[in-house]
């Protein structure tokens, strides 16, 4: 048996060398704690092009063994995925995320990925502002949803009564609104990208000069006396993935930021990456990118814009978001 008095400097040095791997263990463990599959979800619209491009260009190779991007087709599909746990990372309408958070669902907003993609499209030269819609017929989709609420507020701000001053035709979807416009059954249509781009393209082929006559972001900014931005959608993360892989969040956001810059610089290449994931034609996605106001703003930075939008669109009682603005915990 060796006495403690017999321990010399060589033994201490050998002991330290032997202990070095043990001291480094937390780091090694972290390195091994990679995400097996980083599964992103999003709507079949502009912001999802960014995620699909980020996945296609291996932006998350440092933190995940694999990454995927899948488009959900309806808010119901999104809700079902979130509640079942099948969707943990998704681009979500900001209002929907705020509503879920306020009702106790463990979801938080990581960033804002579009500053608004709403337009009023028309082929009528006389329509260039909200006030010009007086006496015209307008197709409006998203009844009761964010775009329709914002549109109603803009009408009211411009002194227009939607029941007496213009004829509103409710449409089931932006695509249907676009079809009504192209068929000449309405004078204008409230649409979102990429449906607006589809209307412009189809109109051009038929000799109709369909254009984005009213930029709702600009009209909103003018009404609110603020920046012309509508932070409509961002990346939402459930608490489950924050608990298990929360340390990967900075890398995810950095990857999205870099991908956003690439998408804006080369929409055609990004659209080619996204066409399969989104199930939408690459030319349509490429042409819609410049009008989708794609950004990658951390949620905390965009908070003032988000609160301005939520306050205005939720009405005095804020029933649409459970009666109050989300607290600090909502913004990552």
């Amino acid at each position: 048996m060796t006495s403690i008095r017999n321990i010399d400097r060589r033994a201490i040095l050998l002991g330290a060398l032997a202990a070095a791997p043990a001291l480094a263990m937390p780091g090694l463990l972290r390195a091994q704690d990679r995400i097996a599959t980083l599964a992103f979800f999003g709507p079949p619209a502009g912001p999802s092009v960014t995620l699909a491009h980020a996945v296609a260009t291996n932006r998350f190779a440092d933190i995940a063994d694999a990454a995927s991007m899948t488009a959900w087709r309806s808010p119901d599909e999104l809700r079902a995925g979130l509640t079942s746990g099948g969707i943990a990372l998704s681009i979500v309408p900001v209002q929907a995320a705020a509503n879920l958070y306020n009702r106790g669902f463990p979801i938080r907003l990581a960033n804002v990925m579009t500053d608004g993609l709403l337009y009023v499209a028309t082929g009528d030269d006389g329509i260039n502002a909200i006030a010009d819609l007086r006496g015209h017929s307008v197709a409006v989709p998203f009844r009761g949803d964010t775009p329709e609420i914002l549109f109603s507020q803009l009408l009211a701000h411009n002194g227009l009564n939607p029941e007496t001053d213009l004829r509103i035709t409710w449409a089931g979807s932006p695509i249907e609104a676009m079809q009504l416009l192209l068929a000449g059954r309405v004078d204008a249509a409230l649409t979102a990208e990429p449906s607006t781009t589809a209307a412009v393209m189809a109109g051009r082929q038929a000799g109709k000069d369909i254009r984005r006559a009213i930029d709702l972001q600009a009209a909103w900014g003018e009404m609110a006396g603020a920046a012309p931005v509508l932070p409509q959608a961002g990346l939402a993360i459930t608490q489950g993935i924050l608990d298990t892989h929360g340390d990967a969040l900075p890398a995810i956001l950095a990857g999205i930021e870099a991908a956003t810059a690439e998408v804006l610089a080369d929409p055609a290449a990004a659209a080619s990456d996204a066409t399969d994931a989104l199930g939408m034609p690459a030319p349509l996605l490429a042409a819609s990118v410049p009008h989708s106001n794609l950004v990658a703003r951390p949620a905390a930075e965009a908070r003032a814009d988000i609160e301005r939008m939520l306050s205005a669109m939720s009405g005095a009682d804020m029933a649409a978001i459970d009666g109050r603005l989300p607290d600090d915990g909502f913004y990552l």
């Binding site: 000449g184 082929q205 109709k208 055609a268 659209a271 034609p281 690459a282």
Partner: protein, 165 residues
């Protein structure tokens, strides 16, 4: 009643003519898709999307101008000579330009000034050709008593009487 060989020759001639119409139709659609792609800036190229946009354009024009399209088809079906049917094409395009100038803006189309002369000619060139081609094909299929096709070796077609015992 003709001789069986003569009837066979007429049938072959009709088949050839209808095949030519089909080829022309395919060619027109190819041009239409190319036109939609280039004028619409539909890049990166996606054949299905270009075809969809092209077909959507034709559908919108057909909805607006179907009486004119029907008239072109009927006139083409009534005209006996192929070259006259061909001559109908530019006349139909000019007719469509006139109709567009008179009624287009009222139907939601861009004014001639916005489209430009080249633009409006390009817009109606193929949509005006399609009903004429359809009328022509109908004539070939149901109304024409075509001459038989000469045999491949250049010999004269068999005379019914000469071959009668």
């Amino acid at each position: 009643m003709g001789h069986p060989q003569a009837i066979s020759g007429r049938s072959r001639s009709r088949t050839v003519r209808l095949s030519l119409h089909l080829l022309a139709l395919i060619g027109l659609f190819a041009v239409l898709i190319a036109q939609a792609t280039f004028t619409g800036g539909l890049w990166p190229f996606d054949l299905r999307f270009s075809a969809l946009i092209a077909a959507g354009g034709i559908a919108l024009l057909a909805i607006a101008w179907w009486p004119a399209a029907l008239a072109f088809a009927v006139i083409a079906a009534l005209v006996r000579r192929v070259r006259w049917r061909l001559a109908l094409w530019p006349l139909a395009v000019l007719g469509m330009v006139g109709l567009h100038a008179a009624f287009g803006p009222g139907l939601g189309f861009a004014p001639l000034g916005t489209l430009g002369l080249a633009g409006v000619l390009r817009l109606y060139a193929i949509p005006a050709a399609l009903p004429i081609l359809a009328g022509s094909a109908l004539r070939e299929a149901f109304l024409t008593n075509s001459a038989p096709v000469p045999p491949a070796d250049g010999a004269a077609p068999p005379h019914p009487k000469r071959n009668t015992p």
